[in-house]
């Protein structure tokens, strides 16, 4: 569970830890603190974990702010974070995951429903969703990959004003989207839209 200390991660840990052995990963305060913007840090994380059945990521740093502040530098926050961070979790993690295991990454409705201040997140989401479809036909040994794409999250009311007209995804819905990816049979799916 990468992003275990975030709003989504905390809920998922609570929902799943009774039934499954979970290893919590985050940038700090977790079982294995990891900087997902650094490939070496990800490699080091997997080396400590060894083999595993499912990777779930809710880790998605992006630049949120006025369009006029977007430039090559600020745009990198989402490129290195939500995009390459999650892509490297798969490219590196595929050497550690068990046969018939699964990767579940996080994207969001911004891929298709843009909002002001969030163009960086839109781009990162779009990259991840297309990568998931591309990776699904390449991964071997029955390994699956999907993305979960919620709207604004019920437990993040501070974001509601930025998402006019978006019906928030409840924590229960979010949990079930991840359950579908991890315990279902689908691959290359974008769950949520």
């Amino acid at each position: 569970m990468v992003g275990a200390t975030g709003t989504m991660g905390q809920h998922l840990v609570k929902a799943l830890e009774k039934e499954h052995e979970l290893i919590k990963v985050a940038s700090s305060g977790s079982d294995i603190d990891t900087d997902i913007t650094a490939a070496e840090s990800i490699e080091n994380m997997f080396r400590q974990i060894g083999s595993f059945d499912a990777l779930v990521s809710t880790a998605g740093p992006t630049y949120v702010g006025p369009w006029k502040n977007l430039n090559d530098e600020t745009f990198r926050k989402g490129v290195e974070g939500k995009m390459m961070g999650q892509i490297n979790l798969v490219l590196i993690g595929q050497r550690y995951i068990n046969p018939n295991g699964s990767f579940t990454l996080i994207t969001g409705a911004l891929t298709h429903e843009p909002q002001r201040n969030f163009a960086n997140a839109s781009a990162a989401n779009g990259a991840i969703e297309a990568f998931v479809r591309g990776a699904a036909i390449e991964l071997e040994n029955g390994i699956r990959i999907n993305a979960v794409s919620p709207t604004v999250i019920e437990n993040s009311p501070q974001y509601f004003p930025y998402f006019p007209g978006e019906i928030p995804t409840t924590m229960r819905e979010l949990e079930y989207m991840f359950r579908k990816s991890v315990f279902g049979a689908g691959t290359g799916q974008i769950i949520g839209h």
Copy 2:
């Protein structure tokens, strides 16, 4: 016209230069040679051009090759090239473009129709398409932005074996997709699917 010396660029130059004043941009052998993977090189290009009405990009370097060769390093080819290269053309170019001008970027069917060897291009395409939707609601002064998304190109038969079942986009269809973006009224559109 960025990517003016490529297969698509050459055709578009020929089709449009009789009716319009065109400035040809490519990595070499063009009116203004530019390295789109470097923001300073893009800034320098726009400084030389001054103001303009429409930017058309067919520039899309990505990593094409076996999935097993994809890693943080090889993946950067598409991230810095087709993705950030084109995104920087917009983020920087918006300060030079005339009111009611337009940006047209290139993506491709791989966003939704993955093929083996092309996961890097899929991710870059997905990023550009979501960015286009995000930018369309942010750009001011009536400036529009769209993406053209062809399948494998008629004049690139060397790629046909990699795209089983894809009906090639003819050069004429491609030209009309760009015409729709540049001369039409739409914004935030992905033209081609």
